[in-house]
Symmetry: C2
Subunit: 411 residues, 2 copies
């Protein structure tokens, strides 16, 4: 059961002018499932992306990066079933071939198509079946296709993840709709976190590029389920330019309004992945402040968020202070003065100081911590008391079901 993750409602997913989506059953790996999604973008659309840092970078990621650099983007093609990762030169050729199939159908250059794959690693993409499915996906293209699309890109997700926002810029209504998928950072076969966010605003390429980077850092790059980074992770920000005049300055009122909406929706999409994390029963925010720089805040936040001992303690609703302090202590911040650190637990509207001066806070009684730990959403707030940097990382707990899901043989 995902933690506080609402199911998408078709009528609440708002079309983005210039975007049409269609899905089809291409039989990529299994029959009778919608495993092919086509996203068509109006002429003049711009796209920017951030991708996995994994050295085993999947073929579609390589092709995506190259296509983003060489041409305008007119379509996305997304398949589930096979990740086309660890597939060498043949994999790259297959990713290119799937772009060509879409390009021919839509009458655009092959470089205008971005490919995304998620599914089994180390198996080759059946380009013939994918290509044969393109006409059906094309015939299904519609502006309100987000609801079907967010279902079709799922692999081991227990539910689809899709949401919309609207903002006003210069008297115009701008729409943003995004969808994401992913449950563990990588699955035995079902790899990959994918995120797509489209707006009908007109955004300069350079602003779009800086927005996708900042939004990714504050969202998809600030979550962890199990610390594993997939070979296929991709986040794409699209601006179709159908509404309003061009926004090119981040510092302008329009730029700030757009930035806020993009970050918020990105965070919602990223947090949705954590809420649907494999075996998750708790949604945890690790908020670190008072750091000398962002990097040490992230080190501490991720040390806590990745600790199997902290994660199992949260599963058990155990306010296990020792595990949290130990994780902070081994985060790799060399000159950390543990006597200055304070730690709070918060949840259900309550917040309790649990640690200070290198140990348990004098005022802390374990019943108060235990009470907070019963909530489904808990924040660990850490003040390093040595600077002004801050960051927040989101994760989930570690349950029997995580082991069960990941120990099951590939099916």
């Amino acid at each position: 059961m995902p933690v506080n993750l609402p199911l998408p409602v078709a009528t609440e997913l708002l079309p983005v002018k210039g975007v049409r989506l269609g899905t089809a059953e291409a039989g990529i790996r299994k029959a009778n499932r919608r495993d092919l999604t086509l996203v068509e973008l109006a002429p003049g659309s711009r796209a920017a992306g951030v991708f996995t840092q994994n050295r085993f970078c999947a073929a579609p990621v390589q092709v995506c990066k190259a296509h983003l650099e060489t041409a305008e983007t007119r379509a996305l093609v997304i398949n589930t079933g096979i990740a086309n990762a660890g597939t060498g030169e043949q994999g790259v050729a297959n990713a290119r071939a799937s772009c060509r199939a879409v390009a021919q159908a839509l009458g655009v250059p092959a470089e205008a198509v971005l490919p995304f794959s998620t599914g089994v690693i180390l198996e080759h993409l059946p380009v013939d079946r994918l290509s044969a499915g393109v006409p059906a996906a094309q015939a299904a293209l519609k502006a309100d296709g987000w609801f079907e699309a967010c279902h079709a890109i799922m692999t081991t997700d227990t539910q689809p993840k899709c949401a919309s926002r609207q903002i006003q810029i210069d008297g115009q209504t701008i729409t943003l709709t995004g969808m994401s998928k992913g449950a563990g950072m990588i699955r035995p076969n079902m790899a990959t976190m994918l995120g797509f966010l489209a707006t009908d605003a007109k955004v300069s390429q350079s602003l779009l590029q800086s927005l996708v980077r900042e939004a990714a850092d504050l969202s998809f790059n600030s979550i962890t389920v199990d610390g594993d980074t997939s070979t296929n992770d991709s986040f794409i920000l699209i601006a179709t330019g159908q509404v309003g005049s061009e926004i090119s300055e981040l510092s302008s009122a329009a730029g700030q309004t757009l930035r806020k909406a993009v970050i918020e929706l990105s965070q919602w999409l990223a947090q949705a992945i954590v809420r649907d994390g494999e075996g998750a029963t708790k949604f945890m925010s690790i908020a670190v402040a008072g750091g000398k720089d962002l990097q040490e805040c992230r080190k501490v936040a991720y040390a806590v968020a990745h600790s199997p001992l902290v994660k199992t303690a949260f599963f058990a609703s155990d306010p296990n202070l020792g595990r949290i302090l130990a994780a902070i202590g081994y985060a790799g911040v060399d000159d950390l003065d543990v006597d200055g650190i304070r730690v709070w637990l918060a949840g259900g509207g309550e917040e309790v100081l649990v640690a200070e001066k290198g140990g348990r806070a004098v005022s802390y009684v374990e019943e108060a911590g235990a009470c907070i730990m019963k909530n489904a959403e808990i924040t660990v707030r850490i003040d390093l008391a040595r600077g002004a940097a801050a960051t927040t990382v989101w994760t989930c707990d570690f349950s029997y079901d995580y082991v069960k899901i990941n120990a099951d043989y590939r099916s």
Copy 2:
């Protein structure tokens, strides 16, 4: 059930001349259990240690470090039940007081006593009860006390860990006996990995210091159960100087013989902790070769060893190549050429090349991998093909029982 970890046999644990050990029930946290161990060392003994890098370094570790620098070492006092970690200034005072109690009983300076604590974090050490137990432990001192001692230092270990070796140096028989404890790197309450290794050889202080550092790096610093580093981890190497003439040069024949024995026994003691790892059903060696330097070999080995997805796959006996490759890919070796990497799985006397050229090896059939994964001891061998550095890290798999053990509320 520990993985291939023989129970210590009392008659196989050899006394080390100059070392006597005694245990007692001090009632540190619970009644009716031997929770206090005293180790008495003959005059002229030398000791050297390596300790946790955790910034939340426990009080006994702080006192140990200070005492090692200021005086000869004549005794160790080890208690279970309470770790005396996260206890601030009072904790340091308590650790010093326990040293004084032992010092008075043995007629040695307080600085000649090294304290070690393992157990519940964030609770204060009951110094009165510990001190009251010292006479009984002193009365029990005997040269063949290793068998009782290795039982008395256990916390959540499912079985004691102790072993002996003998070597010949210049016609003299040198004995080495060591014991260790630890099951997870840190437990909710039952914290700490401890290792003690004593020899009756006469070893110069500088050689002892370099030996303990090298042996720790190749043993206790090359294992991981869950990636969590305790606040109390300590490894102490003792040379009582009762047998033979002084060994001061590592490059001498005597130095090399001693070095080999110290490293081998340290590795046995460290691997014993992994074999008894919380919920372990498999013993995994991650052997990385062909690196540019040791650091990148360790990065890759630990990325594989820490990956919850790799560990759950091993629990499931699933030769999940994609997870191993992905872990190598995100290990943080920036310019890694994945096309050059080769990966083998080995076990039960068989070895199979599973990956090369960025993907599955052409010769690999999954049945061969599946066959190897059925063994209780498995090696993942990785060749980075870019240099001459190599290292091996040992770990265990990740089972339902790991979550069960660590999600149980502190008992």
